[in-house]
C-alpha cells in the first residue's frame, strides 16, 4: 500500500494541468508525489516502464450499472468493477436502479462495502431522487449524501407532477446537492424501442421520438433556472437537447451534460438487422443527431463521455428486438471507442482524455481526474496503437452484450492504478 512507484518515460497527459510531455511520474502513499524529478529521498519499490505508452488520470465514468444489489444474474459489483479496472476506469457513478432501490442509507452502505471488498474501482453511488423512484415523495437526500451519494436522480422513471419535481429541486438546492437527469418523457417514449424515424418505420418497431427527450430537457431546464439547483444531464442523445443545455450554461445556469460514447459513433440505421445489441435507451439517433453531438464535442458543449454500461445475462438479449432488455456493456470498450474519435481526427488525444477525466470530475466537483501533486494516484496507462478484440473468452464484465464484441479495437489499457495500487495489469 505504501509502495513507491515510478512510472518511467511515458507520455503523461493531464488536461487539468495542461500537461502533455514524455516524462516520469512518481507515486508515494497512494498519491501523486511528483512529475519529472523524483522527490528528495524517493526510493523506488516498483518501476513501470511506460515507454511509448500514454499515462493519463484514471478514467471517470458518469454512468455504469453494476447490477448489485438485486440483479446479480446480470453482474455484480466485483465483476463490473473488475471490468472497469481492465478498461482503465478508476471512478464510476452508479445509478440507483438496484433492488431494493438506492433510496436509503443501508443500500448505499452495502454498495460501498462491496466496492471496498472488491477494491477494483471507486464506486460513487447516485441516490434516488424520490422514494422508490416513484416520483411522489422526496428521498432522504441529505442523509444519503452523508452516506456517500454523489448526486440524485430519478433515472428515466417519471416525475409526472411538475410541482413534485420543483420540490425535489428546491430540497436538493437547499443542501447544494447535484441532481442528475436522464431525461425522457414517459408517455412519449412509452413502448418505444428505437429512434422514431425511417428505419423504425421500415422495421415496424415502436419509436421514441426526439420530443420524448427534448420536452423533458426543456421542462427540467426551466425548473433548474427557477430553483437554482446544480444539475447534470446524463446520456443526451439529441442534438437539440445538447443545444438547449449549452444555451442554459451560457445564461449562467449550473448545468452540465454527458454523452454515451455509442451515441457519438452509431446511428439508428445500425438497428436495421434487428440486432438486440443495438437496443439501447436512450436510443441511437439519426445521422443528423450524431453529427450535432460531434459538433458539440468540438464546441465543448458537454463535459463528459460515459459508457452507460449495462451488462445483461444472455437470456435478456435472446428474444425478438422489442422483447429484449435495452443497454450494452461498455466499461471495457470506453477507451478504445473514445479513441475512435481521435483516430477519426475529430478531437485530439488530450481533448479526448479531458472528456474522460477532468471533464467528468468537474461535473462531480471532486478533486479527481487529475495528476496534480498530492492527488489520489488514480492512473490509466495505455497503448493507443495496440489492436485487440473483446471476445466471449476475455471479457471481464458478467455481460458480453455489446455490438463491439469481436470487433477490431485500437487502444489497450496496460496498467490501471487506484490510489497507487495496481488494480489491473495486462497479461
Amino acid at each position: 500500500m505504501t509502495k513507491n512507484i515510478a512510472i518511467r518515460n511515458g507520455r503523461v497527459i493531464d488536461p487539468a494541468n495542461d500537461l502533455d510531455k514524455v516524462t516520469d511520474l512518481f507515486i508515494s502513499e497512494g498519491k501523486i508525489a511528483a512529475i519529472g524529478q523524483a522527490p528528495e529521498g524517493f526510493t523506488v519499490d516498483r518501476e513501470i516502464d511506460a515507454t511509448n505508452l500514454i499515462v493519463s488520470p484514471g478514467l471517470i465514468d458518469l454512468c455504469a450499472h453494476l447490477r448489485e444489489p438485486g440483479y446479480t444474474r446480470k453482474g455484480s459489483i466485483a465483476s463490473e468493477t473488475a471490468a472497469a479496472a481492465a478498461g482503465g476506469v478508476t471512478t464510476l457513478c452508479m445509478p440507483p436502479i438496484t433492488k431494493p432501490i438506492a433510496d436509503n442509507s443501508a443500500v448505499i452502505d452495502l454498495i460501498e462495502d462491496r466496492a471496498k471488498q472488491a477494491g477494483n474501482a471507486r464506486v460513487l453511488p447516485m441516490g434516488a431522487l424520490t422514494q422508490g423512484l416513484k416520483g411522489e415523495q422526496l428521498s432522504p437526500m441529505y442523509a444519503l449524501s452523508k452516506a456517500g451519494c454523489i448526486g440524485f436522480t430519478n433515472v428515466r422513471e417519471p416525475i409526472r407532477s411538475s410541482l413534485t419535481l420543483v420540490r425535489c429541486l428546491e430540497y436538493a438546492a437547499t443542501h447544494d446537492l447535484l441532481v442528475i437527469f436522464q431525461p425522457q418523457d414517459a408517455e412519449l417514449a412509452d413502448g418505444g424501442t428505437m429512434h422514431d424515424d425511417t428505419t423504425c418505420t421500415r422495421l415496424g418497431l415502436s419509436g421514441i421520438p426526439e420530443s420524448a427527450e427534448t420536452i423533458e430537457v426543456a421542462r427540467c431546464l426551466l425548473l433548474i433556472e427557477q430553483t437554482g439547483v446544480k444539475a447534470h444531464f446524463g446520456q443526451l442523445s439529441c442534438e437539440r437537447s445538447v443545444k438547449m443545455v449549452m444555451d442554459a450554461r451560457t445564461r449562467g445556469l449550473r448545468v452540465t451534460a454527458d454523452i454515451a460514447i455509442q451515441n457519438l459513433l452509431l446511428t439508428d440505421e445500425n438497428v436495421s438487422g434487428f440486432d438486440p445489441n443495438f437496443h439501447l435507451i436512450p436510443p441511437l439517433r439519426s445521422q443528423l443527431d450524431r453529427a450535432g453531438l460531434r459538433h458539440a464535442l468540438l464546441a465543448d458543449g458537454f463535459q463528459a463521455i460515459c459508457s452507460d454500461h449495462q451488462p445483461h445475462e444472455l437470456a435478456a438479449k435472446q428474444a425478438p428486438f422489442a422483447a429484449t432488455e435495452p443497454g450494452m456493456t461498455g466499461l471495457e470498450t470506453l477507451l478504445p471507442l473514445s479513441l475512435m474519435l481521435v483516430q477519426q481526427e475529430l478531437i485530439s488525444l488530450p481533448q479526448m482524455i479531458e472528456k474522460l477525466t477532468s471533464g467528468p470530475a468537474s461535473v462531480l466537483g471532486t478533486g479527481l481526474g487529475t495528476l496534480g501533486t498530492g492527488r489520489s494516484a488514480d492512473i490509466c496507462i495505455f497503448d493507443p496503437e495496440q489492436e485487440w478484440t473483446l471476445t466471449e473468452e476475455n471479457h471481464r464484465s458478467a455481460g458480453s452484450n455489446t455490438p463491439f464484441l469481436n470487433f477490431p479495437l485500437k487502444g489497450q489499457v496496460c496498467f490501471t492504478l487506484l490510489e497507487g495500487n495496481v488494480v489491473f495489469q495486462l497479461a
Partner: protein
C-alpha cells in the same frame, strides 16, 4: 462502422433461392414473380378434384401462432396439407407480462420433435428474423405476421389477386387506406408493389395513423381520401382495430368512416375499372361500406382463395431451397 449486411439475405440460400420467407423487402422482382407463377399453378390445382401434391410429403410443418388468427392459421394449415405435409398447430397465446417459457425455449422444444418448417406469427416486430437466426440449419421459417413489421404472404396473395385482374403492375396506381402505422400488411404490400414496378403507391390515412417518414419507403402520402383515390386502379383497405379509439389516435369510428371509410360515393373517384381488396376480417361500416365489400369491384373472397395458393408456393419453394442447400453442403463435405 459496421459492415451492414442486408439483413434480408437470411431468406436466401447460396444459390439465391428462397429458404425462409420473412419479408417481401429485399427480394428481387424475379423471385417475387416466381412466387406468383408458382402460386398460379396451385390455384389451377385447387380447382381440381384431387387437390394434393406430394411436395412436402414426409415433412413436418409446425404452425406456431403466438397471436390469435383464424384465417391465416387455417389457410396455412390447408396449404401444408395440400402439399402432403404433417401439420401441428400450436396456439401459444402470450402477453408481454405473462412470464412463461421463452420463445427460444419453445423453439428448441419444437425442434426436438424434428420439425422441418415453422410458420410463425408473433406480436413482436422482428420475431420471424429472430427465429430464422436461431433455428438449426435446414429448418425453414415462414413469417405469418410479426408485429408491425411484415406479413409477406398476405402481401403476395394481394399481388397475385392484382396480377390475375390487371395483368401487369407497371401501369397501376395503388392506394393503401387506413391504419398504416400499426399495419404489417401495408409495409409488406409497399415493398412488393415497389419491386414489382407499380407506377404509383399512395397511402391514405390521418397523420395519427401514419408512421414517421413513411414516404421514405417510396409512397405518396395523402390525408384527404378524396384526393388520394383519384384515378386509382387498386384500392387496398386495412383493418381498423377498436383499440385505436381508446389510445387517442382517432375520435370515433363514425368520424373515421366519414373521412376514410370506402363508400360507393368515394369509390366513384377511382378509375372505372378499379378493384377493391381487404385482408379481412372486415369491419363493415367502419372502414368499408357493406355494398362495396359485397359489390362487383370487391375481390375479398378471391384473396382468401389465393391465400392458400400463395402459402403453398412459399412453403414448397422454401423447403426446396433448404433441400438444395443441404445437398450442396453434403456434396461439399
Amino acid at each position: 462502422m459496421f459492415e451492414q449486411k442486408d439483413p434480408n439475405l437470411i431468406q436466401l440460400n447460396s444459390a439465391g433461392q428462397l429458404k425462409h420467407f420473412l419479408t417481401t423487402e429485399g427480394l428481387s422482382r424475379e423471385l417475387l414473380t416466381e412466387i406468383l407463377d408458382t402460386a398460379d399453378s396451385f390455384v389451377d390445382m385447387s380447382a381440381q378434384q384431387v387437390k394434393k401434391v406430394p411436395l412436402l410429403r414426409g415433412k413436418t410443418v409446425v404452425n406456431l401462432f403466438f397471436e390469435a388468427s383464424t384465417r391465416t392459421a387455417s389457410t396455412f394449415e390447408l396449404a401444408a396439407k395440400r402439399l402432403s405435409a404433417d401439420v401441428l398447430n400450436l396456439n401459444i397465446k402470450t402477453s408481454s407480462t405473462s412470464k412463461g417459457e421463452t420463445l427460444k425455449d419453445t423453439l428448441m422444444t419444437m425442434e426436438a420433435m424434428h420439425s422441418d418448417m415453422f410458420v410463425v406469427r408473433h406480436s413482436d416486430s422482428g420475431a420471424a428474423h429472430y427465429i430464422a437466426s436461431q433455428v438449426t440449419p435446414h429448418v425453414a421459417v415462414i413469417n405469418a405476421g410479426d408485429g408491425r413489421h411484415a406479413h409477406p404472404t398476405q402481401a403476395m396473395l394481394d399481388m397475385l389477386t392484382i396480377r390475375q385482374h390487371k395483368g401487369s403492375f407497371e401501369p397501376l396506381k395503388v392506394a393503401i387506406v387506413g391504419d398504416i402505422l400499426h399495419s404489417r400488411v401495408a409495409r409488406s404490400q409497399i415493398h412488393a408493389l415497389r419491386t414489382l414496378g407499380a407506377a404509383e403507391i399512395r397511402v391514405i390515412a390521418p397523420t395519427t395513423l401514419l408512421p414517421r417518414h413513411i414516404e421514405a419507403l417510396g409512397v405518396k402520402v395523402y390525408t384527404d381520401m378524396n384526393q388520394g383515390l383519384k384515378d386509382i386502379d387498386v384500392v387496398m383497405m386495412l383493418r381498423l382495430q377498436k383499440e385505436r379509439m381508446q389510445s387517442a389516435l382517432l375520435p370515433s369510428e363514425s368520424e373515421f368512416y366519414r373521412l376514410y371509410g370506402l363508400t360507393e360515393e368515394k369509390l366513384k373517384l377511382t378509375h372505372p375499372d378499379s378493384i377493391v381488396m381487404h385482408p379481412g376480417p372486415i369491419n363493415r361500416g367502419v372502414e368499408i361500406e357493406t355494398s362495396v365489400a359485397d359489390g362487383p369491384k370487391s375481390l375479398i373472397l378471391k384473396q382468401v382463395t389465393n391465400g392458400i395458393a400463395v402459402r403453398m408456393a412459399v412453403m414448397s419453394m422454401s423447403m426446396s431451397g433448404q433441400m438444395t442447400e443441404y445437398q450442396a453442403e453434403k456434396e461439399g463435405e
